[in-house]
């Protein structure tokens, strides 16, 4: 059944509502004054300079965001890879326990996980350190690379492994020459998913940072009682651009519909 005009109409309307807050925020970044007005008054690009260069609060926050996002995403991939591989090799009880543990932080209200991590880091003395933030985000988002890498592994024809074995490949060689090359796009996708979500995460990092450092989302939240300012909107624009770029790369080098669970036999 082809898509009729009202189907397209509904999709465009939904897309418009989806983009509306983003567009408004982007426009608000141009405000010359201190308040968030739409349409912007005295349009200026000065806020971009403030966010990226002249105001150390924002520069440091951005640096912290970047460090935590990249490190936690890398760590999440490192945790997810062996887990995905074990589940693929044999879905015994231990493998399923590992998968279940990885999925757990994702399946509960995030505020509860954040509170728990806060308690745990306070107990171990890690509260307020950057590495505690990195570990926390890695635990929170390891489920994402676990899913993408598992999808990649499922796409591997096991007959290829048998064929490699008949040609003299050990399991190590077969892994390097067959499994790894076919799953690299999925690994990278998983990394990007974890990175983008860590970049934007707020409530967990709020509880584990304990006000000793701030990420961009935290800094915005901390300034909330004084109201939103156009400089924050610049942060929003930067974050949206990073997300769009990351997911476009995923789409360019991987099969996004398949990653999201589409049936690849059709079309």
């Amino acid at each position: 059944m082809r898509l009729r005009w009202w189907g397209h109409g509904f999709m465009w309307l939904a897309g418009l509502v989806l983009l509306m807050p983003i567009l408004v925020v982007s426009a608000a970044a141009l405000n010359g004054g201190r308040s968030m007005l739409f349409p912007p008054e005295d349009p200026t690009l000065a806020r971009f300079g403030e966010f990226f260069v002249s105001e150390p609060v924002w520069r440091e926050a951005l640096w912290n965001s970047v460090v935590i996002a990249l490190s936690s995403a890398a760590l999440a991939v490192l945790l997810a890879w062996p887990a995905a591989y074990f589940i693929w090799k044999s879905s015994d009880r231990l493998s399923r326990v590992i998968a279940g543990l990885m999925a757990m932080p994702f399946a509960v209200p995030p505020i509860v996980f954040g509170v728990g991590l806060g308690f745990m880091w306070a107990f171990t003395g890690g509260l307020g350190t950057i590495w505690a933030g990195i570990l926390s985000h890695a635990a929170l988002f390891a489920a994402l690379p676990l899913v993408t890498i598992s999808i990649g592994l499922q796409g591997i024809d096991r007959a290829h492994l048998d064929a490699a074995a008949t040609m003299g490949a050990t399991e190590g060689i077969a892994f390097r020459t067959i499994v790894l090359p076919q799953t690299i796009p999925y690994t990278i996708s998983g990394f990007f998913f974890a990175m983008v979500l860590s970049f934007n995460e707020f409530i967990v990092i709020f509880f584990v940072s304990s006000s000793s450092y701030a990420t961009v989302t935290l800094q915005i939240f901390n300034s909330l009682r004084n109201g939103f300012t156009p400089t924050m909107a610049v942060g929003a624009i930067a974050f949206i651009l990073v997300s769009v770029a990351a997911f476009s790369l995923v789409a360019r080098f991987g099969d996004l519909p398949r990653l999201m669970g589409a049936d690849q036999t059709r079309r």
Partner: protein, 323 residues
């Protein structure tokens, strides 16, 4: 572990997990995950029974003070307060409406999405994922402007003359009565309307992503078969598509509901303080004004139990309906 040892282990007969190195790696991974993913919840549980030290924090203990405070109020047994029940009630109320709204609006969208070409689907997915990952603080920022009296929807409605028009035909009173208007103009902040709207917006892309696999695997010949048997498009939706994706629909709603139970920023900014949720109360206890970590932990446990209860009930219900 040397490289040659790894090679040797890998070339040994039998699957990898029987090897010593594979088993060690698995147990190591299990240990790390236990610490990172399970221990935090155990801390929450343990501290919920802990003892609050006035002005100095808390210590481990075993008392039910904090649960009693949740169930009966701080001053019980002298007086009874249902304040925290009310908070939990608003958590459930906002999350339920927003989750159902998001899934209901995501269903037709996702169906149309799966009928597009592969390229069209990919482009929409990039947009959806970018919106999905967008931080709650930015989304709240956007809706804050959109709903603000000076430069948002109220100003637009005023400029278009719709405000005056609703006053003329008498509907304006109704908006005032439900709290969506000041005596002279529309006012969407703070209100349950703004809260639910933003929460639904927050999870709508998630809803699309969750429904996407089920709808894209739907065999198009089932729909065509129904059409050749005389079913018009709406009848096809009612008799074929909806029954086939009922489980994913219920499952997505439950998942998003649980996720929304923990919404914090949206509620603090958009909801009236009298309608604040348990998440706000947890925040206040752990890090905010009241500073009572064990009580925050107890509230977290209750939120978790409530979430688990709803998940279980939902699964029971859909299993019962399926058989």
């Amino acid at each position: 572990m040397s490289a040659s040892a790894a090679e040797e282990a890998a070339s040994a007969p039998g699957p990898a997990h029987t090897d010593a190195s594979g088993a060690a790696l698995r147990l190591g991974l299990l240990a790390v995950l236990l610490v990172l993913c399970l221990v935090p919840f155990l801390f929450v549980l343990a501290i919920s029974f802990g003892h609050k030290i006035e002005g100095a924090g808390w210590e481990f203990g075993f008392e039910f003070t904090h649960y009693a405070r949740f169930f009966f109020g701080a001053a019980w047994p002298e007086s009874f307060s249902q304040l925290y029940w009310q908070r939990l009630g608003y958590s459930v109320y906002f999350a339920a409406i927003a989750a159902v709204l998001a899934v209901a609006l995501a269903f037709p969208f996702t169906y149309f999405l799966t009928r597009l070409s592969r390229l069209g689907q990919t482009i929409w997915l990039v947009i959806l994922l970018s919106s999905l990952s967008l931080s709650e603080v930015f989304i709240v920022m956007g809706w804050d402007i959109l709903l603000s009296a000076r430069s948002g929807l109220p100003a637009l409605l005023d400029a278009l003359g719709i405000t005056d028009w609703t006053k003329e035909i008498g509907w304006f009173r109704w908006f005032r009565d439900v709290g969506l208007a000041s005596p002279r103009n529309f006012k969407f902040k703070t209100s349950g309307f703004a809260t639910v709207l933003t929460m639904a917006y927050l999870v709508w892309p998630y809803a699309v992503i969750l429904l996407y696999p089920a709808l894209s695997r739907l065999d198009p010949s089932l729909i065509e078969a129904a059409r050749t048997m005389g079913a018009r498009p709406l009848t096809v939706t009612r008799t074929v598509i909806l029954p086939l994706v009922r489980l994913p629909l219920v499952g997505s709603s439950l998942l998003l509901f649980v996720f929304l139970l923990g919404t914090y920023v949206t509620v603090t900014v958009f909801a009236d303080p009298s309608q604040h949720t348990l998440a706000v109360s947890i925040y206040d206890s752990v890090r905010g004004s009241t500073l009572n970590a064990p009580f925050g932990a107890a509230q977290s446990v209750i939120l978790l139990v409530a979430a688990g209860g709803f998940l279980l009930a939902g699964r029971r219900l859909s299993a019962a309906a399926a058989s």
